[in-house]
Symmetry: C2
Subunit: 241 residues, 2 copies
């Protein structure tokens, strides 16, 4: 009988063992792992192999390393920013590598984003509303590049999801919104389409201020429909070129 699994390398096995220890709570945030030399002896491998295992864990932000005496590998505190950055990388690659239609990606993104409207209308703060108005100002500048317009759009939507006042929700939604940015960057925003989008952004802010969930939902639905329209026109332009 042959092994179905293709026999992981030693460095992968050691990385798995340590990862499991961290996820299961046998190693806590801030704990110091044994030194590379000790780990090598414990697992009966060379230091180079241990180092490859540690690099794997570092790539997932599970550990961080410090040099010098009393340095070493420490279980990392995973911050929201690090977690979001990783989620964005993964999601962006997934969208880029799987021939996903713009429409499907957009549908998913707005479906997810609508999940925060009820909480956002309830909890929105003046500070976040001001941030959103500020981004609308930025978007209204006539000489703005497409990239800058997209970046401001992302900032606007991040403020929107932050209105829900739930960090976990913000993490998931920000990841889903940011992962769309490469796809959004394919779109050329004419003055006409920018005006349309900005109008809907204004409607969203007004709706939040008035705690009118239904009007925010309507604006988001309109934004989704309009974005898909823009995406389709890009695809048509490509098909005929």
């Amino acid at each position: 009988m042959k092994n179905a699994e293709p026999e992981k390398s030693l460095s992968a096995q050691i990385a798995d063992a340590i990862r499991t220890a961290i996820v299961d709570g046998r190693l806590l945030v801030g704990d110091r792992l044994p030194s590379e030399a000790e780990l090598a002896e414990q697992h009966g491998v060379s230091r180079a192999t241990v180092r490859e295992a540690l690099k794997r864990l570092a790539a997932q932000s599970l550990i961080r390393t410090e040099r010098g005496a009393f340095g070493g590998a420490f279980v990392n505190h995973l911050s929201y920013d690090e977690a979001r950055a990783q989620q964005v990388t993964t999601s962006t690659l997934l969208l880029g590598m799987n021939a996903i239609s713009f429409q499907v990606a957009c549908e998913a993104r707005y479906a997810l984003e609508r999940s925060c409207t009820s909480l956002a209308a309830e909890r929105r703060t003046d500070s976040l509303l001001a941030t959103m108005r500020n981004e609308i100002e930025t978007q209204s500048a006539p000489d703005l590049s497409d990239e800058a317009f997209c970046a401001s759009d992302v900032a606007f939507h991040r403020a929107l999801v932050d209105c829900a006042g739930n960090e976990v929700l913000s993490y998931h939604l920000a990841g889903s919104v940011e992962a769309m940015q490469p796809l959004m960057n394919m779109i050329t925003f004419t003055a006409r389409s920018r005006a349309e989008i900005i109008d809907l952004h204004r409607a969203i802010v007004s709706g939040l201020e008035a705690r009118d969930v239904a009007s925010v939902d309507r604006a988001l639905a309109a934004l989704e429909a309009y974005t898909i329209t823009l995406g389709q026109s890009v695809l048509r332009a490509r098909a005929t070129r």
Copy 2:
């Protein structure tokens, strides 16, 4: 003047360079990277350093390696399963490491999950409804362990989000649902609470079958409220022990 950034290691720099090349599309799925020896020469470092860089990329599923002649490192096709597994790892750690209240995590999870009800009611298939009924059967077994109950619960909710017929949405939602599992496993499900949950699961299936979005939403809201209640009683039990 001191460098604000703590000077990344060579292996991290090389990993970043290759990662950027992949994300930017200069390296396409299936492309073979130069051999470790060639990369070492190109970057003017030793093979060990290159290997550490490649292990970092492998940990993010960006590349896979094959041994033997004409083997090497290849740009990996990121599948939905790999992407979801990574997202679950990241999200699970985020929830576990940031002293997040059960209530906040639960609120986020159900807010996200509700985002699929409208699409799910529209597109649900008989096959997925059957899967959900099957899991309800499993959950009704009287001698089921708490872990098995939780696992079946996750399978039920995954089928629910799959009903929306949008792979991208399924990826995001499945990640958010699965990341809750460690928290759910802290809860002891009595026969009484299991019955309550199963009733709500039945209501969800009936609602989907009848394409009655509102009733599915109500059932999910009730499930959220009930789950938070269960979580709070666990916390109370801990506080007084």
